[in-house]
Symmetry: C2
Subunit: 240 residues, 2 copies
Amino acid sequence: MSISKPTIILVKPQMGENIGAAARAMLNFGLTDLRLVSPRDGWPSESAEAMSAGALDKMPPVQVFDSVAEAIADCHHVYATTARPRDMVKPAMPAREAANDMHARAAKEQKTAILFGGERAGLENDDVAHAHTIITLPTNPDFSSLNLGQAVMLCVYEWFQVTPPALSQNEDPLATQKDFEDLMNRLEEELDKGGFFPAPDMKPTTVRNVRNLFTRIEMTDQEVRTFHGMVSALIGKKKR
Amino acid sequence: MSISKPTIILVKPQMGENIGAAARAMLNFGLTDLRLVSPRDGWPSESAEAMSAGALDKMPPVQVFDSVAEAIADCHHVYATTARPRDMVKPAMPAREAANDMHARAAKEQKTAILFGGERAGLENDDVAHAHTIITLPTNPDFSSLNLGQAVMLCVYEWFQVTPPALSQNEDPLATQKDFEDLMNRLEEELDKGGFFPAPDMKPTTVRNVRNLFTRIEMTDQEVRTFHGMVSALIGKKKR
């Protein structure tokens, strides 16, 4: 699995046919790391096999996860494709610009992933909250419904069109999403103990807002360690 | 039907599903003029309707023709998509460059069309001979099979991404393909009468080579008239 190529993650996909079409489009444009989060009809899928036109047989096995957090654990920078605007403060860019961004990050040895939502309603806000960057796919406003396979194809096509930039000097390495997730979970737990969430029904929204806030920072490894130190200090666990 | 937008022409498409997918992709990116040449299963098609996700109902009626020549009669510049190299001397460009070329031609009031071949074998050489420019769709060389709907989508997506250039000053108008076709047919007839095709089994290849030669010129209206005059003169019909 090459760090230089983006991982494609389908979140709660419904139709095997669309998973197969996504796999076919990926291999058409040289991508092979496909992951699924909670596919409705399970995995493997005969209809996906048939629709992939042989692509699934030529790719490494598809990995299946129970949550977005697990699926992106080894990634550094996460993109989310979304058709409708979200009430979140995140940078958004069209697929062509995002493709250039992916190559630039690969040159810095950052592993990237792109999240695609299910056929019915796209990504949930809690899924988008994991992403650092929104990818938009501009279409005819009077007939904008792209299907899942088409949306994947446009993103991977754009990725394939870019001439990769030269490897750059190593900067401070970004934290993996696993390390970031552990930090967020710990923060949430400690905030809960501290009475930060007085109204239980508001807790999910508040958690999401907190996550969105810190996702925007794109912490380095060192910054995640520093942040853990700050939390320890604040709750009085720091060694003196 | 706007002259500023390319016409999509599917030549001998087999599966209604792929015609429907092409229509959906077209409307996603703002194109509405779809033409078919000899669709295998006839027209209209229930499977095309279903796969178009409503696009076919929102577009003007699809036009069906018996030949490529008839389908492109009102067009000025014709592109052909082809996966394998052809033994023909024609300019070739990737879809992105072709999209810019289409907009530049639209600004000169030239009507453009893109030919797509059937699922099995793509365009025949005689179909490609009608085209002025080849469009290539670069893919992973180890897994390059794009289906018909995907190929259409990539071309129309690229078209949609271009900011149209300003209308330019009128140059000499190009001949329509109808007028060019009439000229070619007349030329072939007169060449035949003159014994230009001694071996009957070689005639189709020779006709194609002649057509490819003159397609490269992209004649203006005036040049077609001049050419007719030359033929008349050569066969001795010119008024003295």
